[in-house]
């Protein structure tokens, strides 16, 4: 298996607290960038609250910022956040499923740019993200869903791994992270 060079996370608004908990599990010496798309409104200030208990800096990137290992990149309101090889690509494509930032957009870009070197995590509760997660899985990415009422079914590559919030730590620990120097593809 290829070592993981990026972790992408998608979550509907209702799962904001779960994302905060996830971020507390990330080790300070994490050797890859973490990219988060969370449904949000125009006036939600999210980076500060999400970063409160996280050992890593949480930032809302500008377009074409480097993806630096050990940082958490949060999608800004009004833009889709895509990952290009080693950098951020923001997009003003129309909202999808009524959302911008969208979850499918992030997963799809991770599938294209990183493929098997991406790990993807989707918090359930919204139709957005399901198709993107399946696409990432089909490209060889390590994927899992967290939460109840998963209606995404099976992708072409079979069942998607399902986790309880308590199982997240173990899942993260099982991933084969890329060595720090090789964090970028």
């Amino acid at each position: 298996m290829s070592p993981v060079g990026v972790l992408v996370v998608g979550a509907p608004r209702a799962a904001a607290a779960d994302v905060e908990s996830l971020l507390t599990l990330l080790p300070r010496e994490l050797a890859v960038p973490v990219v988060v798309a969370l449904h949000r409104g125009p006036h939600d200030a999210l980076a500060a609250p999400l970063g409160r208990r996280c050992a890593l800096p949480v930032v809302e990137p500008d377009d074409k910022d480097d993806l630096v290992p050990g940082r958490v990149y949060l999608a800004p309101y009004g833009y889709h956040l895509l990952v290009d090889k080693g950098c951020v690509a923001l997009s003003v494509e129309p909202p999808e499923h009524g959302q911008r930032p969208g979850l499918d957009a992030l997963f799809e870009s991770a599938a294209d740019s990183y493929g098997p070197r991406a790990a993807g995590l989707l918090f359930t509760g919204h139709e957005d993200g399901v198709a993107g997660l399946h696409r990432l899985q089909a490209r060889g990415g390590r994927v899992a869903v967290v939460g109840e009422d998963w209606e995404g079914g099976e992708g072409q590559e079979g069942e998607v791994e399902r986790l309880s919030p308590g199982g997240l730590g173990a899942w993260l620990a099982r991933l084969a992270w890329a060595p720090r120097a090789r964090g970028l593809p």
């Binding site: 809302e60 990137p61 500008d62 377009d63 074409k64 910022d65 800004p76 009004g78 833009y79 895509l82 990952v83 290009d84 090889k85 950098c87 690509a89 923001l90 997009s91 003003v92 494509e93 129309p94 957009a105 799809e108 870009s109 599938a111 294209d112 740019s113 493929g115 098997p116 899985q137 089909a138 490209r139 060889g140 072409q156 590559e157």
Partner: protein
């Protein structure tokens, strides 16, 4: 390799061939666009055209100029309503307009105008601020099809939401002052439309065409990859007079471009930069 990996490989080959074909046949080089974004737009276009493969799209686009225009239209993601980002127009009024008042004449370039919504919003603002008489507003896009739409000065009829954004943008009258209604359409005042110079210009390949005091280029460069993004910033820099203003999108910056040190960001503004050297 999994089946997904094999089909991804094939799709990648087809996309490369399509882009090569478009560049050689039509002179539009999309190979320097941000790849993940380009792939998403191309897939959307494929679905809308009800085609199965990029090879089929390639066959169509190479032989038919209108099919190319359709493709360029899908790739463009400019705002579809007036004053779509009211905070920018508010900042422009507060921070840029007072300086423009002190200059005898002002040339403004809106680069990447798409179907013109932001161009017309800017024109309304300049009119309200009493600057219309000494401003020349140039608006450019790479797509002739989008420009043709922009030139008509016809927009979907603005609603309550548009009126609210107009007020939030610091509007001094009523949005309805600037158009006449025709069914579900708004015909913008001829004095706005006729004083804007719409011109075809491809930021990726064409050089500087004048010196400007204000360049508005918001969220247009998101579509380019880093190399082209930086090259285009070089062109914008060459086209901007000293002490002129460069207005970028809310999440764009000159920080990583070759001319970063030549600009100062206006504090508390939504990414308005002033050329200082």
């Amino acid at each position: 390799m999994s089946t997904g990996g094999a089909s991804a490989e094939l799709e990648s080959i087809e996309v490369d061939l399509l882009l090569e074909g478009v560049a050689r046949q039509w002179g539009f080089d999309l190979r320097s666009h941000a790849r993940p974004l380009l792939l998403r737009r191309l897939r959307r276009h494929l679905r809308e055209e009800r085609l199965d493969t990029f090879s089929a799209l390639q066959a169509r686009v190479l032989h038919d100029g209108e099919a190319l225009e359709g493709l360029l239209r899908t790739l463009s993601c400019t705002p579809t309503s007036l004053f779509s980002d009211p905070a920018f127009f508010r900042d422009f009024r507060a921070r840029v307009v007072p300086v423009l008042r002190t200059w005898p004449s002002v040339r403004v370039w809106h680069a990447g105008c798409g179907t013109g919504e932001d161009t017309y919003a800017l024109a309304i603002l300049l009119l309200e601020e009493g600057l219309w008489g000494r401003c020349r507003l140039y608006a450019s896009d790479s797509s002739e099809g989008l420009l043709a739409d922009a030139r008509t000065g016809v927009l979907p009829l603005p609603g309550e939401e548009d009126a609210r954004r107009y007020v939030e943008a610091g509007g001094k009258g009523a949005l309805t002052d600037y158009y006449t209604r025709d069914g579900n359409w708004a015909l913008l005042q001829p004095k706005l439309r006729d004083s804007i110079f719409f011109t075809q210009h491809n930021l990726a390949t064409d050089g500087s065409f004048n010196e400007f005091h204000v360049i508005v280029c918001r969220d247009t460069l998101l579509t380019f990859n880093r190399t082209l993004h930086n090259r285009v910033h070089g062109r914008l820099f060459e086209s901007l007079a000293r002490f002129g203003f460069l207005c970028l999108g809310r999440k764009e910056s000159v920080a990583r471009t070759p001319h970063a040190s030549a600009y100062e960001e206006l504090e508390g503004s939504g990414r308005i930069f002033r050329r200082v050297t």
